[in-house]
Amino acid sequence: MIPEKPMSPGEMPSERPGGLFAAFWQWLRESAVYRSIVRHGVEDTPLNRSLIIFENLFLHVHPVKVRAKTLRFRHTYWLGGIAVVCTLVLTVTGVLLMFYYHPSVPRAYRDMKELGYVVDNGLFLRNLHRWSAHLMVFAAFAHLLRVFYHRAYRPPRQFNWVIGVVLLLVTLLLSYTGYLLPWDQLAFWGVSVGTNMVREMPLLGEKIRFLLLGGNIVSENALLRFYVLHCVLLPVALLVFLSVHVWRVRKDGGVQGPPEDSDSGEEAP
């Protein structure tokens, strides 16, 4: 199999015949093991371009072809994409932070200090996690407004809008549960103020607050509960709803842009 032309910049070496690396690369791509993992061919053909998408579990949330105008910046401002990238960054940095964190009092606070002074790049890790979280809340909200003003909630996308609202709430809860984890004054009182609002809910307020905090005040129990919510329950909920959200975008004919392009996927009510 001779590659005709490279499919992406990462594969440039295969163009230079004779190089040791090129030879190795070619041998690798033609090996039985590689072919068993990646099932599409090497040549840059429309067939292979399609196979790249639909032979891949992760890429096949996309259709093989998309409408050209949906790629324009003003079509979506990439706001949903920014929120997804934030999710990825938060997952990676979050898992790394979990290696250094104990959800107990006062160990949690000491771990924050250790991240700053002992762990290599610990402060960078924590900063990145914190600012990504803020960006994610902001991007999710901006995405909601973009979809609203583009009237992209109209049929057949009604229910995907509702899933989007749920995703925004999950995002807020993720950010809020994470807010307690450093166990500093900011965290403790921020969460105290917030959970006092829950108490005002009629009938169930006190009970829900007790359930959230594992007690009547923000204590070590609350820290553990928020930790589990933040690291397990809410991320799983986010993953599930996000998958449905993205899948439905595909099923409904791709992302919906400004209403001026209303020939593109809007149904009369």
């Binding site: 790249i52 960054v89 960006l135 500093d184 103020v193």
Partner: protein, 234 residues
């Protein structure tokens, strides 16, 4: 007519009386995704995938720079005995906390946020959103009456609680909505305003208020939730 048609006979004629032609076409209902055929389509790989990778890189680079330049806040160890004044929630809840300043907790903490969440969920199911006609298209007098009454009622209601961050934007937005009336003949701005639909006006109202409340809660509130000017040091 001179000819008499026999069944199964093939007739060739340009005379519509002899050979009836199709006069109407029926379009079957199709999914919107199927309807447009003439659009330009591109392969997802590489066109979309490359853009996604670039987006990922740009966002990660920007976030990394921010993370290098600015440290996440960390105050002293949590101490339940020592309440900071003011104790503030994270920024996205400061709008709610600011509402607590004006309304009893059940209104600010439960009723208003509940209504907002409910309003967000029902958006795609409300007829007014699907019709999406400009606000002043159609019965202008009735619209003006309803708008005037609603704006006055809301202003009086929120004004009674002294909640000017809601009352003032309500007045301003109602004025803008009236200014949009007959804007088709005005300048570019008024023409754009004349096209705005009722749901868009309402969402703009909500965004204005949410932004204002969050800004006040974040920057303009000091000890005892009193008003402070952020540029005057304490």
């Amino acid at each position: 007519m001179s000819e008499i048609l026999r069944p199964l006979e093939i007739v060739e004629s340009n005379d519509p009386l002899v050979l009836p032609r199709r006069v109407a076409m029926l379009h079957p209902d199709v999914r919107p995704a199927v309807r447009r055929r003439e659009e330009r389509w591109v392969m997802t790989f590489p066109h979309l995938i490359v853009r996604e990778v670039i987006l990922l890189q740009v966002v990660v680079i920007v976030l990394s720079l921010v993370a290098i330049l600015f440290d996440a806040p960390l105050e002293g160890l949590a101490n339940p005995q020592e309440t900071p004044n003011p104790a503030k929630a994270p920024w996205y809840f400061l709008g709610l906390q600011e509402l607590l300043h004006y309304f009893p907790p059940i209104v600010a903490g439960v009723l208003l946020p509940g209504l907002v969440a409910l309003a967000l969920v029902v958006i795609p199911y409300a007829r007014v959103n699907l019709a999406a006609g400009a606000l002043w298209a159609g019965r202008g007098k009735r619209t003006a009456l309803a708008l005037g009454a609603t704006a006055t009622l809301l202003t009086l209601l929120f004004g009674a609680f002294g909640c000017w961050p809601i009352a003032v934007p309500t007045i301003l937005l109602a004025l803008a909505m009236f200014a949009a009336r007959g804007g088709e003949k005005g300048g570019a701005l008024r023409q754009a305003m004349a096209r705005v639909t009722l749901p868009e006006w309402i969402m703009t109202w909500f965004v204005l208020i949410a932004t204002l409340l969050t800004t006040i809660g974040t920057f303009f509130r000091g000890p005892g939730w009193s008003w402070v000017w952020p540029w005057i040091g304490t």
